[in-house]
Symmetry: C2
Subunit: 215 residues, 2 copies
DNA sequence: AGCAAATATTGCGTGCACGCAAGTTTGCGT
DNA sequence: ACGCAAACTTGCGTGCACGCAATATTTGCT
């Protein structure tokens, strides 16, 4: 059920998609993110510039896609893969942590932090977990028709975004009126504490779902 | 403390901002959202096209801004205005409901639902509550340094987005495998139930904040 | 009032996103 | 094997976003 389309076609499409994003990443690393035109990327991937925009709707998307690969979509799969008896909140946290913890290339991160435009698209890309995640949560809670799964998924995505934004921020000047400046810890810690804030909501939703089952 | 800048300058800026967005709305209503170029808007507002983009960074933003006015920023103010003894979750829900319930012009809504691009920008605009809201929540909880306020604000914004998206969707074909299709109720109801999902998280955060105060 | 610094506006140039209408490739039924 | 239909690619044209540098306006200061 993974792909509805036929083999050769879909295969070629994925091939050019990969070609495009790898070309984009390579060129961006070589010449700097701002010195790469979409025409260059298209040429390097062997397609027309117009075709580039059939695959990516902005110049930055291809670069970001190369860095994040399909991480976003795998989060939902990882959630669905956890055994049903695990707390939803835990399943989610584990899935996200797992997917965002793979060792990253240091150059790639520098690249992303370098350009504001790239940072923005990177954060936007994190929002892509929302829909698949909503489906996965819906599945787990079995409460189709309620907005809860969508809200929870959207909130989780939002939390991830907050964590990533914090993480990408240069430590900045320690200028707070009151006191301590948190030195913007490690990404796993940031993700954990962001998601922890939402835990009660997940628990409550799960609770309600189980009550509905039981009754 | 509302405006740091001096009078005449800021006044003129707001004037042209308003002129731009009202011109945008008027033209969009007159000729349809897709038959309005930014040059037209700029001309109608009496500024150069380049200036348009000093105020709005996309063609759609001005139109949406005219419809939503400063609703987004007022939400945070409304939260801050609630007495301190009100539950945070309630303060938030009331503030949002209050701001999103003003009677809307029917034409304007049709306009927004008409064009997908407008719908998207409209939803994006709702995300603008995030930062002011985070500040307001931070104030209320008094827990600077914790990611909680940011996460809660982002989640609330996400919930609002979910509700709005549902609300803007044409009822669509009642095609579900299992059964009932919720006829995408009234906006207040949608907002209420979306925010209700997050209530436990708000309560828990408030609880924690109070414990920290007490100790 | 007058002047210098700060801030806005404008025109220009470049690259980009995307609708549209060919042209090309792939898939499938017969 | 053939050919039609669906899906993908491509070139073109249009409008758009935005950096930059020149110009105009406002402000605060004396």
């Amino acid at each position: 059920m993974t792909t509805r389309r036929t083999g050769l076609r879909e295969e070629k499409k994925q091939a050019t998609r990969v070609a495009l994003r790898e070309a984009a990443l390579r060129l961006a690393l070589e010449h700097g993110p701002d010195n790469v035109r979409v025409d260059d990327i298209a040429e390097a991937a062997g397609v027309s510039p117009r075709t580039y925009n059939n695959y990516f709707s902005s110049r930055e998307q291809a670069i970001v896609a190369a860095v994040t690969a399909e991480r976003e979509s795998r989060v939902a799969a990882a959630v669905a893969a956890r055994p049903a008896h695990v707390r939803l909140a835990d399943a989610l946290a584990e899935a996200i942590l797992e997917q965002y913890t793979e060792p990253r290339d240091h150059d790639e991160l520098l690249l992303i932090t370098a350009s504001p435009a790239l940072r923005d698209t990177f954060l936007d890309a994190a929002a892509a977990i929302e829909h698949p995640l909503a489906a996965a949560i819906d599945q787990r809670l079995g409460c189709t028709g309620t907005p809860a799964p969508r809200v929870l998924a959207a909130s989780a995505a939002a939390a991830v975004r907050v964590a990533l934004r914090q993480w990408l921020q240069p430590p900045a000047a320690p200028l707070t009126t009151s006191g301590l400046v948190v030195p913007s810890g490690s990404l796993p810690d940031l993700l954990r504490s962001a998601l922890a804030t939402l835990e009660p909501a997940f628990d409550a939703a799960e609770e309600q779902a189980q009550q509905r089952l039981r009754q």
